[in-house]
């Protein structure tokens, strides 16, 4: 029984990281209708900048975070303005190729800048793991989980309770009409990319201490995050959160009781099953389609 609970508790830490990644994809998809396949390299880039600030430039922790977070938002806005805006009226396939191209290009660029040897980022929270009976919860995992819940809640409130959120939702619902209503749609799309890369970057910074930091280290995580977003019904924030946590826990249980090797396979089989029963995902109301 200890193993069962340990698998669940351990799964929540990575699950929260998948959830942040899924929320990032959701925020960007909602306003710009783009599935951001470059997420893995963008978030790695942010974590590497954090490493640069903390380890190379010896900035204080607070300053380093500030630097990384601001950089993340700038990267998001710049990538949108420089690349995605050019293809915003193009076909889906062109946009997919664009984000995939960015994935490879940014990884290559980071490789040239930092090299591919694993680097280390310190844990945000230090100290021994928290013992809950015979089950252990890593402090860093606990922090990630808490932060993810708080960020999701804040984001949800911003979306539901503020005029900015309303404007973002309006752009998500119908960009042309939003423009007619005097909403500066371009700015909303920029903003959502900034927020999206910020969230993905935070997830990368938080998980980097547990795995090794390289220009490609988020690729595997991004695959799970993508799965989480699909499971949650691409477009729903609560769906992305629940999808991420569910995938973190489920993949751990599958790996613990069935086969470690088939982790990814079973996760995707589970998603296929969910989509078969609920084509719009667990929380979805809109089908991912384009006219």
């Amino acid at each position: 029984m200890t193993l069962f609970f340990q698998l669940i508790v351990s799964g929540l830490g990575f699950g929260a990281v998948y959830a942040l990644g899924a929320i990032s994809l959701t925020v960007i998809f909602n306003t710009s209708n783009v599935v951001n396949f470059a997420s893995a390299s963008l978030s790695s880039a942010v974590a590497l900048l954090m490493w640069l600030a903390l380890v190379r430039l010896h900035l204080s922790v607070v300053l380093a975070w500030l630097f990384a977070l601001v950089a993340a938002m700038v990267i998001g806005a710049v990538v949108e303005a420089a690349f995605l805006r050019r293809v915003e009226r193009s076909s889906l396939i062109v946009q997919i190729v664009m984000t995939l191209g960015l994935l490879v290009a940014i990884e290559g660029l980071d490789g040239a800048l930092y090299g591919f040897n694993p680097k280390t980022l310190p844990h945000v929270i230090h100290g021994p793991s928290i013992a809950i009976g015979s089950v252990f919860l890593d402090r860093n995992d606990a922090f990630i989980l808490g932060l993810t819940l708080v960020l999701t809640l804040v984001l949800y409130l911003v979306y539901q309770r503020t005029r900015l959120g309303l404007a973002l939702r309006a752009v998500a619902s119908d960009r042309d009409v939003a423009s007619l209503m005097g909403i500066q749609t371009q700015r909303m799309v920029s903003l959502s990319w900034a927020i999206g890369v910020l969230l993905a970057g935070v997830s990368a910074i938080l998980i980097a201490p547990s795995i090794s930091l390289t220009p490609t280290f988020m690729e595997n995580v991004a695959v799970f995050a993508f799965a989480a977003a699909v499971l949650g019904g691409f477009g729903s924030l609560p769906g992305a959160l629940v999808g991420g946590l569910l995938i973190g826990v489920m993949s751990n249980l599958i790996s613990g009781y069935l086969s470690n090797n088939l982790q990814l396979t079973f996760v995707f089989l589970m998603i296929l099953l969910v989509l078969y029963i609920r084509p719009n995902g667990l929380f979805g109301k809109r089908v991912m389609s384009r006219q």
Binding site: V158, R161, T162, R163, L164, L166, A167, R169, A170, A172, S173, D174, D176, V177, A178, S179, L180, M181, G182, I183, Q184, K285, R286
Partner: protein, 252 residues
């Protein structure tokens, strides 16, 4: 208030609007009528800046409208409803209306985020204004429904409500009653009549339902093939031969 002066618009050689001039007086309902394809919606699109005419001037309170991009039209005080309804289908009715209030400080969206008390007050004001309009249109009951799930008639009302809630000086209504039931049409006519006084704005109404138009407007402008063929009070228009001919011609 709004003045069109010698406006001409053509699409690749086809004249949609031909040397058209008319004026919309303050605080009144002006109707723009004409048979299908007479160029009514083109004129509305010129005023809301979707189209730029090749010739002529459009001024609003003395300001040259043609200098503004479409997104700033709402800021000078012109709001419109849409012939084919352009709601945010994923958002609730009240959210759709709240967006109508947004233009008044859309630049402050960001700073607003960081000033919570003010944001809360804005939110409360927006909601109250939305509710006033909902009450005026008698649709409070559907305030929280997702607008994509509403009947067409209700969607038309929400579309009208969203234009109203922005407190425009000039409200452009593009066939507000088209496709709705006879009962709703009659009720809508009485509501439109109340708008100038209740919301302190002028209205430009486009419709080809003569009964509706002549019943609510103080001034009527008749167009056909993009040109003005008559202008006057509803009574004058009823007796205008060219108008009768245009309409009979169309309907026979």
């Amino acid at each position: 208030m709004l003045e069109l002066d010698g406006v001409s618009l053509s699409f690749g050689g086809v004249r949609a609007v031909n040397n058209l001039s008319f004026e919309i007086p303050d605080g009144q309902i002006t109707a723009l009528i004409g048979p299908n394809g007479a160029g009514k919606t083109s004129i509305l699109n010129v005023i809301s800046r979707f189209y730029t005419p090749q010739h002529g001037r459009v001024t609003f309170d003395g300001k040259d409208l043609l200098q503004l991009p479409p997104s700033e039209i709402i800021d000078v005080g012109i709001a419109r409803s849409f012939q084919n309804v352009a709601l945010f289908k994923d958002l609730s009715v009240v959210d759709n209306l709240k967006i109508g209030t947004d233009h008044r400080s859309s630049a402050g969206l960001f700073s607003n985020m960081f000033r919570l008390p003010r944001a809360v007050k804005h939110e409360r004001d927006a909601r109250r204004e939305a509710e006033e309009v909902l009450e005026f249109l008698d649709i409070e009951a559907i305030a929280e429904r997702r607008s994509g799930t509403l009947s067409y008639g209700h969607q038309k009302l929400v579309d009208l409500g969203r234009a109203l809630v922005s407190r425009p000086k000039l409200l452009l209504l593009d066939e507000p009653a088209a496709g709705t039931s006879e009962g709703l049409k009659a009720w809508l006519a009485t509501k439109i009549k109340e708008i100038p006084e209740r919301f302190g704005c002028a209205v430009l109404l486009i419709d080809h339902d003569m009964l509706l138009v002549l019943g609510v407007s103080q001034k009527v402008v008749v167009v056909d093939f993009g040109s003005k063929i008559a202008q006057g009070t509803p009574d004058e228009i009823r007796q205008d031969r060219r108008v009768i001919a245009a309409y009979l011609g169309e309907e026979s």
